[in-house]
């Protein structure tokens, strides 16, 4: 989950949008208290389906694995900033909060406060959860090299 994105003008926004998309509605509500801009809904929040693609092995052909429910929202702040959000799942409130925070993060005056209060703590929690999963998975990993040496 620690995504390594190339450093481009969009990469900072990609990082915070990814963090917002993984956070739950409760987390966002708790942390965004007082930081949300006044906004108009342009589209949604609404539900839809996206096709997930899978690939068997590193060299396999991509195939359609199945569909996932996605909620999305686009809002416009009074200053004219556009906030977009796409989140897995059916929580419309979550998509709307994420879109509002995306717009707030584009506002130079509000960026640092939102980054400090919302994005940084959420990113830390998410990184920790990813590390825990990785550790658990690593404990079950089979070292084929060791088995080969043991046999000889």
């Amino acid at each position: 989950m620690p995504t390594l994105l190339p450093s481009s003008p969009q990469s900072a926004r990609q990082r915070w949008m990814a963090t917002l998309a993984r956070a739950s509605a409760d987390e966002l509500t708790a942390r965004a208290e007082g930081l949300l801009p006044t906004y108009t809904r342009l589209r949604g929040p609404e539900l839809g389906l996206v096709m997930l693609q899978g690939r068997a092995g590193g060299t396999g052909q991509p195939f359609n694995l199945g569909e996932a429910t996605v909620s999305r929202c686009t809002i416009r702040t009074e200053a004219g900033l556009l906030g977009h959000a796409y989140c897995l799942g059916r929580d419309l409130r979550r998509a709307e909060l994420a879109a509002a925070l995306d717009a707030a993060l584009q506002d130079p005056a509000a960026h640092d406060a939102v980054q400090r209060a919302v994005i940084a703590p959420l990113a830390a929690t998410q990184a920790e959860a990813a590390a825990t999963t990785a550790r658990r998975a690593a404990a079950t990993q089979v070292q084929f090299f060791t088995m080969a040496t043991m046999r000889s």
């Binding site: 108009t40 809904r41 342009l42 589209r43 609404e46 686009t74 416009r76 004219g80 556009l82």
Partner: protein
């Protein structure tokens, strides 16, 4: 602020259903003027009824042509409907803010007349202006429709369109929050 930044329908499902019902009624009774609710803040230069018809009828499967004046609303239309751009002769829907030649639109084929284009024309006013006398299916007796902003030779162009039946285009007229429709089956004379 770009033109993308205008909202679509407030309640997409019910507003689109209401818009569809208005278009359906307008097509079934040519010349009858209907008032639609539409999006609260239509993107300039579109009127509310024009924006409503666009959001109701156009989607990702219907290539859309816009005239030069309407092109400013393209980002908004693409964002809310996903409609691909098309050249005039291949568009399923054409949106024009000033009169265009009806013969330039796709009229379908005799085997597939349903493939023809629908022209959404935004006019200056409905209910005032030049009087058209309508006759045809859906009308028990000939009726009249007043439209301000049609081409001077509209009646002649329409006669040619009507004569191609079952081929031909259908026309939706929009002005402000009002719309009326002229299906290809209706015959028009100067009132």
């Amino acid at each position: 602020m770009t033109n993308l930044a205008h909202p679509g329908f407030v309640d997409p499902v019910h507003d689109a259903q209401a818009g569809f019902r208005a278009v359906l009624e307008a097509m079934a009774r040519p010349g009858c003027v209907h008032v639609v609710a539409g999006p609260p803040e239509p993107p300039p230069p579109l009127d509310r009824a024009t924006a409503c018809v666009l959001l109701t009828l156009v989607d990702i499967d219907t290539p859309l042509w816009l005239d030069d004046a309407a092109e400013a609303a393209r980002p908004w239309g693409t964002f809310h409907t996903g409609a691909p751009a098309a050249v005039l002769g291949h568009a399923a829907f054409a949106l024009a803010l000033s009169p265009i030649k009806l013969a330039t639109l796709d009229a379908g084929t005799d085997e597939g007349p349903e493939d023809s284009a629908t022209l959404i024309l935004q006019v200056a006013a409905l209910g005032t202006g030049r009087l058209l006398r309508l006759e045809g299916p859906g009308l028990a007796a000939p009726t009249t429709l007043a439209v301000d902003g049609l081409a001077p030779d509209f009646v002649a162009q329409w006669a040619a369109n009507h004569a191609r039946y079952p081929r031909g285009i259908d026309l939706i007229l929009c002005a402000g929050d009002r719309l009326a429709a002229l299906p290809r089956t209706v015959s028009i004379k100067e009132g």
